[in-house]
């Protein structure tokens, strides 16, 4: 009896060990075309993965697949896609009050709200985008208040928010323009008031920094980090006057800033370039109207051509689709002036650079996280499928989607 149990235990242990090895062990990914994003795409490439990291990359002639490696094959391989700005995980697919947690309407300026306290790694939209090759998301509070809260960066895999999170506080979201107005007679109610309120908060933060014993409340703490430049401001602004306000604030307070949306940015590329501020461009297929009347399929292409660092985003949707897919948004940008290589960069290496994570993700290179997307053709073509997604060396999706 005892012996049986111990045998069972051994066999169970062996099974677990085998599964662990399959899950976290060695993987070889072969692709007819491998977009490493570190140089020219490799024809007939092989990527070796060991312990969640990329071990080696090269042509099939250069890289021998060692024994014991599971081999996965695809026509086209890219780095796992990075969605540089979304709200999924905070907002869910049902669009019911219980799954919409990206905006607290009780206040217009709440930079202390942490995205990690709301993020649901098992939200269906996270699974949905993962199935299209998205491995990292910069997600957080939705751009519908002067400061709706913080953003975070997470892998699209992980049981708990702690498992998934790469950066718990990535940026503090700020909105300028019509979307920032509080309505119902509350402040802010105008563009001038929006800027005045932000200035007042930043002055207070600067004063707090100078104090021997700075206040310890959550809002003061995060705003001091912003004022110090430890945490960047993510400023959603579309109209020229709003973008210029953002640049003015960045200069006045010596802030680290990322512009977001920025549909009229092509009209003031020199000013943005001079400020050295990168842009996370609106979703290519987002709806135009109001402050976003100047949305263009070519925004990303025009900014890129002007030498401004750009990434693409799926953005925030109040209705349907409850999330856009960064793969499809990049596809439309690729077809409208950006080209395949640069469009891929906006959702891989260039997005990683803007998010400050390019030493870890965004390209297929030795030592980086093994985050890879597999496709059965040109990733951007309508009829191509994503056939697999690898995160931290694990094949986490094999649904043909």
């Amino acid at each position: 009896m005892k012996r049986t149990i111990s045998l069972r235990a051994i066999s169970l242990l062996a099974t677990v060990a085998f599964l662990m090895q399959a899950a976290f062990g060695q993987l070889a990914v072969k692709g007819d075309t491998v977009w490493t994003m570190t140089g020219e795409p490799i024809t007939n490439g092989v990527v070796l993965i060991r312990d969640g990291k990329i071990e080696r990359v090269g042509t099939a002639a250069q890289v021998q697949i060692p024994a014991g490696y599971r081999t996965v094959t695809a026509k086209v391989i890219t780095p796992g896609l990075i969605d540089a700005h979304t709200v999924i995980g905070l907002n869910g697919y049902l669009n019911q009050p219980h799954d919409q947690m990206a905006l607290d309407a009780s206040g217009t300026f709440q930079p202390e709200l942490r995205a990690t306290d709301a993020y649901d790694p098992e939200e269906r939209l996270v699974e949905w985008v993962r199935g299209y090759g998205v491995t990292t998301i910069h997600t957080g509070h939705q751009p519908s208040a002067l400061s709706p809260g913080q953003t975070m960066i997470a892998k699209t895999w992980g049981k708990t928010v702690e498992d998934a999170t790469l950066v718990p506080t990535a940026m503090v979201a700020v909105v300028l323009g019509q979307a920032a107005n509080a309505g119902a007679g509350r402040s802010p109610g105008t563009r001038g008031k929006q800027a005045a309120m932000l200035r007042a908060e930043l002055i207070k933060a600067q004063e707090n920094l100078a104090k021997k014993e700075p206040p310890k409340d959550l809002r003061s703490e995060i705003m001091m980090r912003v004022a110090k430049g430890d945490v960047r401001l993510l400023v959603t602004a579309h109209k020229v006057q709003d973008i210029m306000t953002a640049l003015r604030l960045a200069k006045e307070f010596n802030l680290k800033m990322v512009l977001d949306g920025a549909s009229e940015a092509p009209l003031i590329v020199n000013e943005i370039k001079a400020a050295g501020i990168p842009v996370i461009v609106h979703a290519t297929m987002a709806r135009a109207g109001g402050d976003t009347a100047s949305l263009s399929l070519e925004t990303a292409a025009k900014l890129k051509a002007a030498g401004i660092p750009v990434a693409l985003q799926s953005g925030y949707e109040g209705y349907v689709p409850k999330t856009r897919i960064i793969l499809f948004e990049a596809a439309m940008a690729a077809a409208n002036g950006l080209g395949v290589r640069d469009a891929l960069a906006t959702v891989t290496i260039d997005a990683a650079k803007i998010l400050g994570l390019d030493t870890r993700i965004g390209s297929i290179a030795q030592g980086k996280d093994a985050d890879i997307a597999l496709y059965d053709g040109d990733p951007f073509e309508f009829a191509t499928h994503c056939t697999g997604t690898i995160i931290n060396g694990q094949l986490v999706s094999e649904i043909v989607r």
Partner: protein, 443 residues
């Protein structure tokens, strides 16, 4: 004086050209997808006086000496796209006074100058069914429109049937959009929704019988009732019901009502068509689908799927496409077909869905939907394969006139967007926020 003379002369010329036979125009060397037959390489499309005169190649189409030729080498020509469900032109139908308002005509509300019509032209759409919203069981009468250029008034876009009547259908909806928690005249449940619709159709039958019984005796006619007159048209099959419906059980409720009252139906959206595709096919109900990039947005679209097209095709149902603009953008309507193909719908049925299927759903299969002699010269010129992300709509032609040209800077701006491309106050964008409001919702 001189200027006036020149103007008068130009006017005479224009008038003359309309009255006289126009010179035929031949688009040559194109890859032509006629839908009515297999694709033609090095094809010729011959048009004259707004109609298609011939389709074929150098062996089958003889060109007269007065023909104007346009070289379309490397380009693809296919019929203009038919959008069976859109909200371009800021249509507003029923108001908050009640859930069923068949007397309301969006004819009386559409802004023919709306830039959204130009966006649809940029997407290759030539015929569109413009509908009121779905926040009602019945939100009024729809309009079938041709996207002609330079329209100022709605009359410039109307399509007339052989009896000289402008064409359109009627919009019904079920599921959660028409349900209002406030009670009053609006339904609070799905069963109540069906009961209210049933009730109106029974009244319409009685109204029809009274009119019939009166015969030539005008004193015996019931008092005129525009709502009833419209529903009688529906009962008689003269006006097609475009039924907004998402969930599988709602789709079957729509089909049940159709069976009970015998009206002609086109199912719109059918988010869960993949669950009841066989039932849809068995009922011989045409279905028009929409492609949404993610599931949800509301509870009844939790299981919307790109595979609806493939499922309906497999079941044998007539399947078309719609934008539901502004839910999806008319400018990339072809993308919807690309996504349907991605999920297993055949290329042929996708292209058929954009053209002939839509024509059949709008009762215009004899006039549009394929490139065949005698049909309206509604076609699009594409830079490549219709179902590639890299392909651009280069030109859109309606009744022999070019209404969109990507090389024209104004048209280009509409097509790609940018400063000045849309009206900042375009109601099309606002429409999205009216899902539960008086304006009624889309999708």
């Amino acid at each position: 004086m001189k200027r006036i003379l020149v103007c008068a002369f130009t006017a005479l010329l224009c008038a003359g050209s309309i009255a006289a036979q126009q010179r035929p125009t031949a688009f040559i060397n194109a890859r032509i997808i006629p839908i009515a037959g297999p694709p033609i390489e090095q094809g010729i499309l011959l048009i004259q006086n707004g109609k298609i005169a011939a389709v074929g190649d150098a062996r089958t189409v003889r060109l007269s000496s007065d023909v104007v030729t346009v070289d379309m080498a490397g380009k693809t020509i296919m019929p203009g796209l038919i959008d069976t469900h859109s909200h371009i032109g800021s249509p507003a139908g029923a108001d908050g006074s009640g859930p069923i308002q068949p007397d309301v005509r969006i004819l009386d509300s559409v802004n023919a100058e709306a830039v959204s019509f130009q966006r649809a032209q940029a997407g290759g759409i030539t015929t569109v069914n413009v509908m009121p919203g779905s926040g009602y069981l019945n939100s009024g009468q729809t309009l079938y429109l041709k996207l002609r250029d330079n329209a100022i008034k709605i009359d410039d876009l109307l399509i007339y049937d052989k009896d000289g009547k402008y064409m359109g259908g009627i919009k019904f909806a079920n599921g959660t959009n028409p349900i209002r928690s406030g009670g009053g005249a609006f339904p609070g449940t799905r069963a109540k929704s069906a009961a209210l619709v049933r009730d109106q159709f029974i009244k319409a039958r009685e109204y029809r019988d009274k009119v019939k019984a009166a015969g030539n005796d005008k004193t015996k006619l019931p008092p005129r009732d525009l709502a009833m007159e419209t529903l009688v048209e529906v009962l008689e099959g003269k006006r097609v019901v475009h039924f907004h419906t998402h969930r599988h059980d709602d789709i079957l409720t729509a089909l049940r009502l159709q069976k009970e009252f015998g009206f002609r139906i086109v199912l719109q959206h059918v988010s869960e068509a993949w669950k009841v595709a066989d039932e849809i096919a068995k009922a011989k109900a045409p279905a028009s689908i929409i492609m949404i990039d993610a599931p949800g947005g509301k509870l009844e679209t939790m299981e919307v799927d790109f595979k609806n097209g493939a499922a309906l095709e497999k079941a044998g149902a007539l399947t078309g496409f719609h934008t539901d603009d502004g839910i999806t953008d008319s400018r990339w309507f072809l993308r919807s077909g690309g996504m349907a193909m991605r999920a297993g719908m055949s290329r042929d049925k996708v292209l058929y869905g954009f053209t002939m299927a839509g024509a059949i759903m709008l009762d215009m299969q004899d006039r549009i939907g394929s490139l065949e002699p005698g049909k309206d010269a509604d076609f699009i010129v594409l830079s490549g394969d219709p179902l590639s992300v890299y392909t651009k709509v280069l030109q859109t032609w309606v009744e022999g006139k070019k209404v969109f040209d990507r090389t024209d800077p104004k048209d280009y701006l509409i097509a790609v967007g940018g400063k000045g491309a849309t009206d900042e106050n375009d109601l099309n964008a606002d429409h999205l926020h009216c899902v539960d409001g008086d304006e009624g919702g889309n999708e």
